[in-house]
């Protein structure tokens, strides 16, 4: 780091160049930009550049290991006429919407449960967060085995519990596969909502509840008129983050179903991977990936504005 040695320099014996160097570095603007430069340059090179390069790629017919040909919006036109692409749009929205509702409801319930006084609360919190911190691909293979067509423990429990007569193919049937993904994503993501909402709940002063109780508010009323308004900002931020990242989810789906059976669980990211990487059509793949941009950009803009206002 170039800033270090120069700025530690003792007061210069002669008021010459070292003093002005130090003086320069000590200026707020100069020091700030010296500090920022490495990180900002890195992000420009490895986030901003790929982003714009991706837009450029999406306008080309570009295969791996060959020159690209500029084709304008042809890739997007092809996608617009592709039934699989529209199925992917529907799948993604279903996946994002349903998991968000479930995670929000489950997370709120989890937060309300842990927010009570009991022994071992910190331990419970630590254990409940485990699904979120363990590498997703690894917990997903455990779910693959739990949902195995022949040896599924869920089937075993349902059959031996007398609920069904023969096991389901959880990942082999089109609609069951989507629901399986939703369950696994919800399992993994609920603790994130639960623990962050818990932090929100803990900021509520007990006085507020007492005041509400004195005024004769029921439990439900206290929840609606005290709890919810206080945690609303946390609720909104957590949900927006989660929606943005669920839109970009890849590994859970790739590991569990690869988008199958028959595209039933393909989402933007897995389709882009199949076309761009497996089939080597970089241009078309980039176009698929970019198609989520409008929805995502809207979300990101709303969230950024909201965060800056907070």
């Amino acid at each position: 780091m170039a800033v270090g040695p120069a700025s530690i320099a003792r007061p210069a014996p002669v008021a010459g160049r070292p003093a002005t160097m130090r003086g320069l570095i000590e200026r707020e603007g100069v020091f700030s930009w010296l500090m920022l430069a490495p990180g900002v340059l890195f992000l420009l090179a490895f986030v901003a550049y790929p982003f714009f390069y991706g837009i450029f790629l999406s306008l080309e017919d570009r295969r791996v290991a060959s020159e690209g040909v500029f084709v304008g919006l042809a890739n997007f036109r092809t996608l617009a006429n592709d039934a699989v692409f529209w199925q992917v749009v529907r799948n993604t929205f279903m996946y994002v919407c349903v998991t968000t509702i479930l995670k929000l409801a489950g997370g709120l319930a989890m937060a309300l449960v842990i927010n009570q006084q009991f022994r071992g609360r910190n331990l419970a919190r630590a254990f409940l967060l485990l699904p979120f911190i363990v590498p997703t691909a690894l917990s997903t293979v455990a779910w693959m085995w739990i949902l195995d067509p022949t040896f599924s423990v869920v089937n075993w429990l349902l059959v031996h519990g007398g609920i069904i007569s023969s096991g389901y193919s959880w990942l082999g049937n089109a609609s069951l596969a989507m629901w399986s993904l939703i369950v696994v994503n919800t399992w993994r993501g609920t603790p994130f909502y639960g623990i962050t909402l818990l932090a929100g709940l803990q900021t509520i002063s007990p006085d507020l509840y007492e005041a509400a109780a004195i005024d004769g508010a029921s439990t439900t009323q206290r929840f609606l008129w005290v709890t919810l308004p206080v945690i609303k900002p946390v609720l909104i931020i957590v949900t927006m983050f989660s929606v943005i990242f669920t839109f970009g989810d890849f590994q859970l789906i790739y590991a569990l179903t690869h988008g199958g059976p028959a595209n039933a669980t393909h989402v933007f990211s897995t389709l882009a991977f199949d076309i761009g990487m497996s089939a080597g059509q970089l241009g078309m793949g980039a176009a698929v990936a970019l198609s989520i941009l409008p929805a995502l950009a809207a979300l990101i803009v709303v969230l950024t504005i909201y965060l800056r206002r907070e």
């Binding site: 570095i25 500090m35 990180g39 991706g54 449960v113 455990a142 399992w187 993501g189």
Partner: protein, 281 residues
């Protein structure tokens, strides 16, 4: 009688729902564990009750460690996670510090830019990134992931640290400056030590996210010797034949342990990080 009613109320509002969350949350881990120590004849029989182990064995672990590259993958994962964590926390600090504490031209643009890079999801970038890594001839090297993981981790670390840096009173720094400390000294000797919890949070988070990364590793690391644990487990331990589940679960469990250990030591810092910035999942 009143005590009894209290107990039932508590059972209904606390213990029962808590038990449901714990059982649902932890069952997959229990299942990983018992699958990994069951002999094959128990695993692949529909007659034997599957919820417990009848004759435990360590065969799957021995096979995993001797017949596959699991140890190499573990080494790769650790190396990449440590290097990218250090890079990300250092560069994240250098971005967050001026943004949080100094006034300079362009601050607003940089702040918005960092927030935007934090929110841009990976699927939007991986295809152009693959082409860039190819052109740099970095395919099948750990350098490829060491260069790309920080794109996810730096914005997050910067975001998280800004909050901590803002919380240090300005007077402390000013007093040091009046005593002749340079800006660099004021930062490294006054502000950063006070923000140790924030640096720990950022580091632990970056480390777990690096261990969790999948997409870039999948694209850039096609040779077994350079793979990370998640990629190795998903691409190599899932094989054509059916009888691989014991080894697969052993791999999944062992691969989860480093993160779980770090997490168990620093759970409070982890939760602080989680709630400070909401997190990329």
């Amino acid at each position: 009688m009143v005590g009894g009613r209290d107990f039932f109320a508590r059972l209904r509002r606390l213990y029962l729902p808590l038990a449901v969350f714990v059982v649902l949350g932890l069952f997959p881990f229990y299942w990983m564990l018992i699958t990994s120590i069951k002999p094959n004849r128990e695993l692949y029989s529909q007659k034997i009750m599957p919820l417990v182990v009848h004759q435990p064995t360590l065969k799957h672990y021995v096979d995993l460690l001797t017949e596959t590259n699991f140890l190499t993958w573990t080494y790769n994962t650790m190396l990449v996670a440590v290097v990218t964590t250090v890079i990300s926390v250092v560069l994240g600090t250098m971005i967050a510090y001026p943004l949080a504490r100094l006034r300079f031209p362009g601050a607003a643009v940089v702040a918005i830019g960092v927030a935007a890079t934090y929110l841009v999801p990976q699927p939007l970038l991986f295809i152009p990134m693959a082409d860039i890594i190819n052109r740099l001839e970095l395919g099948n090297t750990l350098t490829a992931v060491m260069l790309t993981y920080p794109t996810l981790l730096i914005p997050f670390s910067a975001w998280l640290l800004m909050g901590y840096f803002k919380s240090v009173p300005r007077e402390l720094e000013e007093a040091a400056r009046i005593d002749g400390a340079s800006r660099w000294q004021a930062m490294t000797r006054i502000v950063l030590p006070l923000c140790t919890p924030g640096l720990l949070s950022a580091g632990i988070f970056a480390f777990t996210l690096a261990q969790n990364e999948f997409l870039y590793a999948l694209i850039f690391l096609a040779k077994s010797e350079v793979r990370t644990v998640p990629i190795g487990v998903v691409t190599e331990l899932i094989r054509g034949d059916v009888f691989y589940w014991g080894q697969l679960m052993a791999g999944a469990l062992l691969g989860s342990i480093p993160v779980a250990i770090i997490y168990s030591f620093f759970v409070d810092y982890y939760v602080a990080g989680l709630t400070a910035g909401a997190v990329k999942s």
